[in-house]
């Protein structure tokens, strides 16, 4: 009975041509590889400065051969201001993701399992929210936060970040929970589980991949956000890495290039690691659209 649910589309098999290459094909291939190399150089060369300078004891504003040293990273973790940036980023990222997932699983379950008036309108509405560019609402959002006395607090920022990512999470988890066969849950009820127990024992374990994807998308969205913390936070001791890097870079006269590059590497590491985990999943599903922004 669940065959239709689990049935996978069979991937189309690409036709391989086995005849020997004509001169035209050779030219084509050389051209293709040249284009690929150029594109990859375009994509990767800008990273040279950050990577090389982070391990350079005498880093400057330009690419140079590094005098190998991990001094910059040591300084990042021991100097007065920078470790706090990482801690704040982690608090905002993890707190926001946790809140987002709790709201998302509950809401996604309601959307997947109950038929109620306005459900379709709600789904459509939260899809439409994507059309609103963030800068267009940030001003009014700031005033609302001022009135709620939530500006310049990590709690306020966590709340806002979690909610800004919630429409995508709801869509994702609604789809994932819908694909768990209802019969499994019913079987659990028959075995004497309450509805909540059935959710915890049956649904949650089965939506692991979707939940993981939602968690990583949310975390990466919050982690990379620049505008919201820039507007909401005024105290230096609350700044996350994004704002800290910006302040350090804009301090034109005293930029510590090595420390800046090391901070950037520390800042990049979590999303880079997470992305390698979700990449396959993201490319397979239509979630691609959720990554941008």
């Amino acid at each position: 009975m669940t065959a239709s649910v689990t049935a996978q589309a069979i991937a189309p098999v690409r036709a391989f041509r086995r005849r020997p290459l004509g001169p035209l094909s050779v030219v084509q291939r050389v051209l293709a590889y040249t284009l690929l190399v150029l594109m990859v150089l375009f994509c990767l060369v800008p990273f040279a400065w950050v990577v090389l300078s982070s391990i350079d004891g005498h880093a400057g504003p330009n690419v140079q051969l590094p005098s190998l040293s991990f001094d910059n990273f040591v300084r990042f973790f021991t100097s007065a201001g920078t470790p706090m940036l990482l801690v704040n980023s982690l608090i905002i990222g993890i707190g926001g993701t946790a809140l987002n997932l709790v709201l998302g699983v509950a809401g996604g379950y309601a959307l997947a399992r109950f038929e109620f008036r306005g459900r379709r309108a709600f789904m459509f509405g939260i899809l439409l929210i994507r059309v609103i560019p963030a800068p267009a609402t940030i001003v009014a959002l700031y005033l609302i936060m001022v009135n709620l006395k939530l500006t310049n607090t990590l709690f306020g920022l966590i709340l806002v970040e979690a909610v800004l990512q919630l429409p995508v999470t709801l869509w994702l988890l609604k789809g994932t929970i819908s694909s768990v066969p209802m019969e499994l849950e019913e079987a659990a009820w028959v075995d004497g589980n309450s509805r909540l127990q059935a959710i915890r024992r049956i649904v949650l374990p089965l939506i692991g991949p979707g939940l993981g994807a939602a968690a990583m998308l949310t975390f990466m969205g919050i982690w990379g956000d620049f505008l919201t913390p820039l507007v909401m936070l005024q105290s230096q001791e609350l700044y996350p890495l994004s704002i800290g890097l910006f302040r350090a870079f804009s301090d034109h006269n005293h930029v510590d290039w090595g420390l800046l590059a090391a901070s950037a590497i520390v800042y990049v590491a979590p999303p880079a690691v997470l992305y390698t985990f979700v990449r396959k999943h993201l490319l397979r599903s239509s979630l691609g659209g959720a990554v941008k922004g």
Binding site: S4, V5, P12, A15, F16, R29, A32, M39, V40, C43, L44, P46, F47, V50, N62, V63, L103, A106, G107, A110, L111, A112, E115, F122, I126, V131, P133, A134, P135, A136, I138, V139, A140, L141, L143, A162, V163, L164, M182, E183, E186, S194, R195, L196, W223, F226, L241, F246, F249, Y267, V268, P271, A272, Y275, R279, L282, L283, G288, V291, K292
Partner: protein
């Protein structure tokens, strides 16, 4: 918790995975409110209300500080007439238009399509590695993306781009001063190629190989095949991509603000930066909100245009 234990419903043996198990009774409302209520309420408070409140603010002279902060007044469409006759704002809209057109609609789309097509060739080796390299600019936070380009566009002779042009005998240029708009367009193309590539790869996979083969046997050249077979078949995804990238490019703030802060002399003051500076640096909330509403209206119009275009027959 016992109230939550309820009689199991016989799931209709519907093949659609979305329908079984839903109940149409008044008793579902408590569950729905309990589960979806908090999230929905927060979405309303932090996303919907700001949009509506922003519309209201745009008709007032609200300020962050000073007299108008305590006692904002209704000023009708004054903010709008001010903005639409302000050369600063109009040029910022124009810059946003250029930025979207050249970086997203042309640059990212063309390069993303080229990358997707190259990586869809069956004989290309190391697809995973090529793809991963192209993805790098997208997965790093925007602040880091800007920082990497700060070194490329650096104005001294050892800057990466200056070294490259130096190979051809050109003098060092301070790119962000001389060609600021071109520079940020280049940065945004770099950042967005991966997203275009992903969207187009998914679309190309749906194109039946048989059609391509048949056309090839009929003697069609690669470009003809792309123009007359592939492109019409992936029209829907392409317009969806254009819609998404337009929206997100209009919303680009940090990537540009980090590099130029709107300068030099307002040459890269995109609408998003204009709104930020007006409302939060000059404290003119009313004018900033009106600018937001104009931007929002333009995005909605563009969105509708895309949706219409994507449905037009080929």
């Amino acid at each position: 918790m016992t109230s939550i234990t309820s009689t199991p419903i016989r799931a209709a043996a519907a093949p659609q995975s979305s329908s079984p198990g839903r109940r149409r009774s008044k008793r579902t409302w408590p569950f729905v409110l309990l589960l979806l209520g908090p999230g929905a309420a927060l979405i309303v408070v932090f996303i919907i209300v700001p949009a509506v409140y922003g519309a209201y603010l745009s008709f007032t002279n609200t300020q962050l500080t000073g007299f108008a902060a305590r006692d904002p007044k209704w000023v009708g469409i004054d903010n709008y007439t001010y903005l639409l006759s302000s050369s600063d704002f109009l040029s910022s809209l124009g810059q946003t238009g250029q930025f979207v057109l050249f970086s997203a609609i042309i640059g990212q789309t063309v390069l993303g399509m080229v990358a997707a097509i190259l990586l869809s060739r069956p004989w290309v080796r190391g697809k995973g590695l090529w793809g991963a390299a192209v993805l790098m600019p997208m997965i790093v936070p925007e602040v880091v993306a800007s920082l990497t380009w700060a070194s490329v566009l650096s104005n001294n002779s050892a800057g990466t781009l200056n070294r490259l042009t130096g190979l051809f005998g050109a003098d060092p240029t301070s790119w962000l001063q001389v060609v600021p708009m071109v520079s940020i367009i280049l940065v945004n193309i770099w950042r967005g190629v991966a997203f275009a590539m992903i969207m187009f790869q998914a679309a190309l996979e749906e194109v039946p190989v048989e059609l391509i083969e048949a056309a090839r046997i009929d003697g069609a050249r690669a470009l003809q095949i792309f123009r007359h077979i592939t492109l019409p078949l992936i029209r829907g995804p392409v317009f969806l991509y254009l819609l998404l990238t337009t929206i997100s490019t209009v919303g680009v703030f940090g990537l540009v603000y980090f590099l130029t802060q709107g300068g030099p002399g307002g040459a890269t003051r995109l609408a998003a930066i204009y709104i930020y500076q007006r409302a939060l640096q000059f404290a003119q909330i009313g004018i900033g909100s009106a600018a937001s509403m104009i931007l929002l209206a333009l995005v909605l119009v563009l969105g509708l245009v895309y949706v219409r275009l994507s449905k037009v027959e080929v």
